[in-house]
Symmetry: C2
Subunit: 559 residues, 2 copies
């Protein structure tokens, strides 16, 4: 890495690897032959009904991070590297990750399959269509939209108000021109004109439903519960009123089976589901985590963004609904990112700056506190970057020693599992002990109470203000009896507060809730603190411009 | 069938069948192990580059039909049944079919996988997502659309006129509300507002390109040649100007490999690609047909609608571009459909009516003539239906004897391959002999000349009239030098003329060409004779309302 030789890209590393047939990986994972459906030579789907549980003792290790910065922290890379390290230590381990969306792949960069020597493979397949799960979700989402517009066109027996339809269409692409559209133009034979919009597929409520359902039956019930809009009398209209929960379940039934792949080191990996971490909960599917728990002794998994978002929702939403608990939590941090939290610009990160680093460690300290709030022992993964200096590294280690916080240095991008052995050893120590994991609130508390708990105990804010619209919505939600659901906060990931520019560890701030969107299928109430972009745009030079296929049919231009 | 017991549905028959693992089917077909990628237990993709040709002698048998009627003819069913019959006669045979679109499946009825005991299986997978090819095509189509709108939003260096973009977005659903939309609303950050529309995926030019490309390199070249719109100076803008032909090829590279499945009798079947038969050419991919020709001695395939549309394009477009020739053509007809051509209403078809039948045979006679025009010997498959009477059947047989036309009765829906043995024996006789197959026109002829040839020699019309718009377009097309392409007629399938109500064998009519759309990627000029619906709508009671999943995860409600 110190020479002038250009380092290999993630795609080059992934494509040089000698992959093992997925049938062999399935054997390593203890998956019976009849439960594996191959998708090509290196991917498979697992029928969870054909996996016998080995007991309910499998430990879940969650990997989360400090508040993300443009410097990058490498959370997925550490997740994969930790699993590989545990594998090297002869543990029966699986890693469970989210599926990447095609939008960012074609837009800015490759997917969420780790990096360097800590990747899941086949990288190019995982980032392009994979086993078609996101396409199935897009199709189910858009079939529902077509059914809604057709219902209105064919006489509107349910009296759906075209102005109050909240169900949007989706594509799994970054396409800003579809954010706000008018559909149904062209005269009476072409449907009812109305305002509409497209989200990216990972923002679909069906993606959230897909990831929180605990069985095919539960999937169908959750789909039936989705509210698609309101009648002229302002009564909610559910999917079950349209009678298409069966068809939507049918469209999703194969996708609902978790996908098996491998890491570069042959550790079995499940990649399944990938909801947004703002308007949804940002974790892979419960089916994936629970299937991995049936097969392995340790399941390493991750959640989106920092611990204030991903880990909070992992605990309060996913673990609650999936009825399991995390045995340890890894908080990924880098010297570079901590220096950004200490006020240094991205262009100056290469210079040693211990003072800025120490200031930025306040952000890390808060994330450690968040994990402890849930009764779980945090372990910091200090993820190495080439520009880190010994003085900087030592400053973090010293602080951890003073504060009595577990820490391990990782170098998995360069070394794979070997670079994660120290972290793995810490994890093994922590999961040996029972912890006192608990969710932070009871769903029967009021909406105001639940949100206040999150803001004060997780974000470290002073309090919560509910805007006029949100207040009105709370009334309506209580009237329908929908208030007894967990909260899904939609907040900037860049700050612990709701103001993206407040890095480090802000205090005394008030979080404003502008809008509350009930997601009855997913089973949570989304609380918006600002505008959340549910359809990204493409940059001026999209990554797609550099993509292609080699003469022998191999991918090129993926990162 | 004569008892009051409710006959099994296609889905029930398909699900009762004992399927053979796709690895075994691959062995039967002579596909080497390394060339098969499994997609589940009963589907696979074939890497055509790993299939050695066995010589270029494999015969292609095309199955076409009389002008379709609401009575149904059973073309796909006969195609599958004929292949099964040839298989029973120990021929090395494969069947090559189109992939069904999800739109009609969710809308009106099941897919295009045959019926009764002459089906391709797994029926439910083939009709739902299959191996994801259509999703890959939708994604490529919509990625291109996003790139176009992003290009305009980011400064519009190419000076694309937003009013003159001809590239539409697609979904693989019936969704009339998307036919005419306005995108880019919401202010300057959300793109440039403009009129747009969605087609169903099978109407995408990328589907046509996908089906006519002869290699991955050819695929990329064809994609690069697609015209997406015009500049403010009215100059054409190509995909290559946007530099995304590489990314689109990458999105399609796995889908481009033909899919292997089996018939209910274990005959190897390739199902790949499925373009519209009006604004496109309506045949499965050249890759599929050519891969099947490398593996088998006889390839049975079909083309959309009647011989005036599907077969004409099969000959003049697909066979020309794929550089192969059909050795025999089967024309499917039923007594019921012929009686409809003789003027009988659908509700009266159960009654014997030899006079109406004889009148309707004029339609069949014309389709026989069409096939002979190409220098190929037609064989009529008289596909049995329960209400046929002996007098009616005899009338058709007598007429064929008088006119010296080959005919065989088929009963494959009820009997599978056994019900197609007589047809198979006729086919074997015909393909023994060299024929004088030739395409009907040279691409260097003028547009007017090529269209006139099709109208006079195929449709039996008196002549062609070009509307004002079409005339102007011909000038423009000639100016760009795009006139030296084959013609893809977009005409009603219900009549040999361009007027749907003219059943039987109309004569003396003039066909009006209203519009000509150059499809430079596909490599043909679409000539529209009327409004062609490229986005179907859902009926009042969509089939989706009856679909679902059984407790053990099986599909229900597919037809």
């Amino acid at each position: 890495m110190m020479t002038t030789v250009k380092p290999l890209t993630d795609l080059e590393i992934a494509m040089q690897a000698e992959l093992r047939p997925i049938t062999e990986i399935a054997k390593v994972a203890g998956i019976p032959e009849e439960a594996l459906e191959q998708y090509g030579k290196y991917k498979g789907k697992i029928d969870p009904n054909l996996i016998a549980p080995q007991g309910d003792d499998a430990k879940v290790v969650l990997v989360t991070a400090i508040s993300p910065t443009p410097a990058g922290e490498g959370k997925s890379t550490v997740t994969v590297g930790l699993a590989d390290a545990l594998h090297q230590l002869d543990q029966k381990v699986m890693v469970a990750l989210r599926e990447p969306s095609l939008g960012p792949v074609m837009g800015i960069k490759g997917g969420a399959a780790g990096g360097g020597h800590a990747q899941v493979v086949p990288m190019e397949d995982i980032n392009l269509h994979f086993t078609g799960d996101l396409h199935a979700i897009s199709t189910a989402n858009n079939a529902l939209a077509a059914i809604i517009d057709n219902h209105i066109h064919q006489g509107n027996a349910l009296q759906i108000d075209p102005r109050r339809i909240i169900w949007k269409r989706v594509v799994d692409l970054n396409d800003r021109a579809l954010r706000n559209v008018v559909v149904g133009l062209g005269g009476p034979a072409q449907g009812m004109p109305r305002e509409d919009g497209f989200d990216i597929t990972v923002a679909s409520e069906i993606m959230a439903v897909f990831c929180l359902a605990t069985s095919l039956t539960d999937l169908q019930e959750r789909l039936a519960n989705i509210v698609i809009g309101y009648t002229f009398e302002k009564e909610p209209v559910f999917v079950r009123d349209l009678q298409v929960e069966g068809a939507l379940t049918l469209l999703l039934k194969e996708a609902f089976k978790p996908n098996l792949v491998q890491t570069l080191e042959g550790t079995p990996a499940i990649i399944h589901g990938g909801p947004f971490a703002n308007i949804a909960h940002g974790c892979n599917s419960i089916m994936a985590t629970q299937t991995a728990r049936k097969l392995a002794d340790i399941v390493v998994t991750e959640a989106g963004f920092g611990s204030d978002l991903g880990a909070e929702k992992f605990m309060n939403i996913k673990a609650r609904m999936g009825q399991f608990k995390p045995s340890a939590v890894v908080v990924v941090a880098t010297i570079r990112a901590l220096k950004m939290h200490g006020g240094i610009a991205k262009s100056d990160l290469a210079q040693e700056n211990v003072a800025a680093l120490q200031q930025g460690m306040a952000n890390l300290a808060k994330h450690v506190d968040i994990i402890r709030t849930f009764g779980v022992e945090p372990i910091i993964a200090l993820n190495r970057f080439i520009t880190d200096t010994e003085a900087e590294l030592q400053a973090v280690l010293d602080w951890c020693a003073t504060e009595n916080i577990r820490i391990a240095r990782t170098n998995v991008w360069e070394q794979g599992g070997e670079g994660g052995i120290a972290l793995a050893q810490q994890v093994l120590q922590v999961i040996e002990q029972e912890n006192e994991f608990h969710v932070l609130y009871d769903v029967t508390e009021s909406i105001e109470q639940k949100v206040t708990t999150i803001v004060q105990r997780i974000y470290g804010g002073a309090g919560v203000q509910f805007g006029e619209k949100a207040k009105k919505q709370i009334q309506q939600i209580e009237q329908y009896g929908w208030d007894i659901l967990p909260i899904c906060m939609a907040k900037t990931q860049y700050s612990l507060s709701d103001q993206p520019q407040l890095l480090g560890r802000p205090e005394g701030f008030t979080v404003t809730i502008r809008e509350i969107i009930p997601k009855l299928g997913a089973g949570f109430l989304v609380c918006l603190t600002g505008d959340i972009l549910t359809m990204p745009g493409l940059p001026k030079q999209p990554a797609a411009l550099h993509m292609g296929v080699t003469a022998d049919g191999k991918a090129k231009g993926l990162f």
